[in-house]
Homo-oligomer: 311 residues x 4
């Protein structure tokens, strides 16, 4: 594809989204997130050649929230390999992102690494053998490395806000702890979890960080091998089946790309072999996923023919 | 790809599978299915050019069971369009193929068209305005048309066996009926459902029938347009997220292709733009999916680089 | 107690109830029941001496519905003894009268004999070895014997109405059948079940029929021993913990007597050693129990000091 | 009844229990409780005249655990009246003592005050407006007052053990907190909860403390009015329907008295108008209730004809 063509499509979609009035509801359960301007919209596509097509608020940092789960899973797989799968499953949950019912039925083993319980279990694995501060430093450096930008930071106000109000996550963590699924003190694991969810990144940084998933585990510009090709494919598969909580089926049906959403309104999507994509619109739909984010990605894959399910 | 290469890979995999002793358990809940020889194995791949690579028992008919749900969904979408989605959702269920719990929580609306309850609701839509015999005739003719073979028939012994013992499905149907989700008499809808699950096809016929899904809704050999490109993509997306019950995540993780399994041990898989694939091995894993079928497909996509999640 | 005093209290309560405008909602899910006049109210208390205090519509027959479950349990215990408890539990369900969720979790064994599933399992035991007509005749004769009135009949219009619309019960029965909990053809068991629920009795007949439960298994007027003292106590215990579906705790808390309600608006209550009580008011509360029936019984036990939980 | 007769029966039962080898399993989930000698058995009955019949280890203190929930409920009702019922329901739960599933379905409102979640919510009410130390002091003084013994203390080793390992309870508390059901900091509420569960009492002290429930809210020996007659009846009703977790139906069926068990192996039972009873045997059954405790109470009510469900 010609870079111009991609630029035009991204610009068009950013324009269309700017005009829409149906923007969903900004997440209110984390007080700091509720203050974000619902009119914000950013879209960045980085193709295989490294061309960056950017639209809207492409350089405004936002709270990546659950999108961080893709990167902590990557890190945990690197450290613990398939031992990760003793702590967490690989199936869609069929319920909301913070459901505890499934944990009771399945003895504290979360269904997948992308629901909150699963990501907390993955965080606990990264933490093992380290102090919370060290583990968090490792995660942040990994994000800076992948995003190619040392200025990426944790928004401490958001982290503190979650720590004060994250009772549901504390319930999940304590529940898993009661089954022996967590190794570390609950407050340590939660501390690291709340902080990595509070990493702030722009669409440009996020799309850069996701490039290895689009290109067999390797960033084609830097040549860095992040994971093996098989592992990249498998992370993509998990994003497709589990990346949007109880809206994963809908995202696959409409967009047709592996993707991971966060309650900050961001979505990272992967077009294997073609591009890494980041979109941001703070308003959420009923399943807790970015409302315009999904619509923008649907428009993008349709115009570019990028669905993995057919041309 | 050269046809020879594909032929060789299919032959290799058929050989490997013939030697394995871990074959899963043949389904016993339908008495007629329990009699099938667990040593059977068939594999057929039909590529974009129409080349057919066949291995093992490629021409032995088996009971397609839930694989028929892909085709009844296709038929129902053709007749009722998006009205289908008023009766059935598009999300993975997070539970077994015959779970009734989800129905109670969600007022009788099945989570997706590929669990039993969802397929019964889809069958009810096809039946509406017709006699059971007519509806069943329409489904069978559709299969003969897609499979390019008028000799495809319903195995009446299997249908009768299910009708005698299908109490769980009768529970699901009556439950949905109590919420007004079914229009027709329960016994009519169940009769059509049991019969279309009892259609017998060989891997060759099944791979042929699935070609439209691999090629944007069109059979490239006959030129028949079965569905629109968008609809083909969407059916593929549903197969990926929901096609293997509570093993859908695992299938996506290991195989990386949209697929639909049946308790007869068959699997239809789709490599968009590349091939339609049918595999058959009667022994099932714990989630009710063909044990060697999944292993064979994993080997195939690995050797051919056909995963939709990366080369 | 002096008969006059009891007569006065019953008359007072009937008067008070006649004036209340909060009457709940008449059950609509069985079409025939929806036609009953919500202004109806009957109350009959028969004390240990056989004195009958009657108020309101004491002699108007109504559909006893689930109250019949007390008597079918009594009959089944007489025929099968403790084998009954292989098919059905003895614990409150913590959910609605027609929930199917619990059945999935507990392999088709209903929690207790007073939820629909449990009563269907009990009916199946009574039916075993008989034709449906014979089993139903036995149940009806048992009711006539206990009620001391051969004119008690089944309301065929109600039975037919339930048979046409009882999809939820058909779901429960088929579900249990799939686990092997029922021995007989589902339609036979359901036929007997729908018919015994459709028995029509007046408060006077019902209070008479319940006397053996108040007096250690023996009708003190006739001297007939119906069950052993221990069995009478145990049936009373089950009525207290499970007799009002998911409102059983509330009924124990407010009324303090073993009782069994039906969606026809009747309640049979037992004051051990003191009296058998029947009340009828067709309007139901949110848990499906007679709204004024419970209020009338609360007033009665308060004025008479009949709670089993203290004077 | 003659005191001699009661003494003899209590002695007989204590003898019989001493000889039994089926003693259940001592609770292991709280490390400190696991050390208790499973051969211990105590039984104390205090009749309406204040006569004390004692058998076995009647004066050995044990951890009352969940039996404390009866007394904290009594205290909370005294302080907050019916406001208690905005935080907690009055229905049996139909599930285990520490289930979290019900909380998800019912927006954080526990089903009743005798499951862990419900008792934590009640503790939170007692705590409101106080420091944890003050609230705990109030509870302990209430127990000393009711037990007529200022030497009753909290076993700090047990409290510390629970605080270190009580992750499931921390999950429940955080979960309720996320719904706004708790007012106080989770660690404060849990601290008070763990400590009042760790109160140590002998059967003699416990039977004394329960006397007000057997006698319309009033201790007949001291003349102290603890609660109104109506409130005493209602607490008894809750004990009967909810006092033994998911074994409440079974306890009602076999014993026929209101009762509350604790995982320390104690049971407080109430024969309204007749007696207050405490029994202790550390081994538990599958539902988490004292195995021999229930058997001893069944023998006692049978020989004395004390069931509330009939002579």
């Amino acid at each position: 594809m010609k870079p111009d063509h991609l630029d035009n499509i991204v610009a068009e979609i950013a324009d269309e989204m700017a005009q829409r009035t149906d923007r969903g509801e900004v997440a209110s359960y984390i007080p700091e997130l509720a203050n974000v301007d619902p009119q914000r919209f950013g879209l960045v596509v980085i193709d295989a050649d490294g061309h960056v097509a950017a639209g809207g608020d492409a350089d405004v940092p936002f709270s990546i929230q659950s999108i961080s789960k893709v990167f902590t899973l990557t890190l945990a797989l690197g450290k613990a390999g398939d031992r990760v799968w003793r702590r967490v499953g690989r199936e869609p949950s069929g319920s909301a992102f913070n459901s505890i019912v499934q944990l009771e039925r399945e003895r504290g083993i979360p269904r997948n690494p992308f629901i909150n319980a699963g990501a907390i279990a993955v965080t606990d694995l990264i933490l093992s053998g380290h102090q919370p501060r060290e583990a968090l430093g490792e995660i942040l450096r990994f994000m800076q490395f992948l995003g190619g930008d040392d200025s990426i930071v944790i928004d401490e106000a958001v982290a503190a806000s979650e720590q004060r109000t994250g009772f549901r996550n504390a319930a999940l963590a304590n529940y898993m702890k009661s089954f022996g699924v967590l190794d570390n003190p609950v407050e340590y694991t939660l501390g690291v979890y709340f902080h990595h969810c509070a990493i702030a990144m722009s669409c440009r940084q996020l799309a850069m960080a996701g490039r290895f998933l689009a290109h067999n585990g390797r960033n084609p510009s830097t040549g860095h091998n992040v994971v093996s090709p098989q592992r990249a494919r498998r992370i993509n598969a998990l994003m497709l089946t589990c990346g949007h909580y109880d809206g994963s089926g809908e995202f696959a049906y409409r967009v047709g790309l592996p993707g991971k959403s966060g309650v900050g309104g961001g979505v990272l999507a992967v077009a294997p072999g073609k591009a890494s994509i980041a979109v941001w619109s703070p308003g959420l739909d009923a399943a807790g996923n970015s409302h315009l984010g999904r619509i923008a990605l649907e428009a993008l894959t349709k115009r570019l023919g990028w669905s993995i399910f057919g041309v």
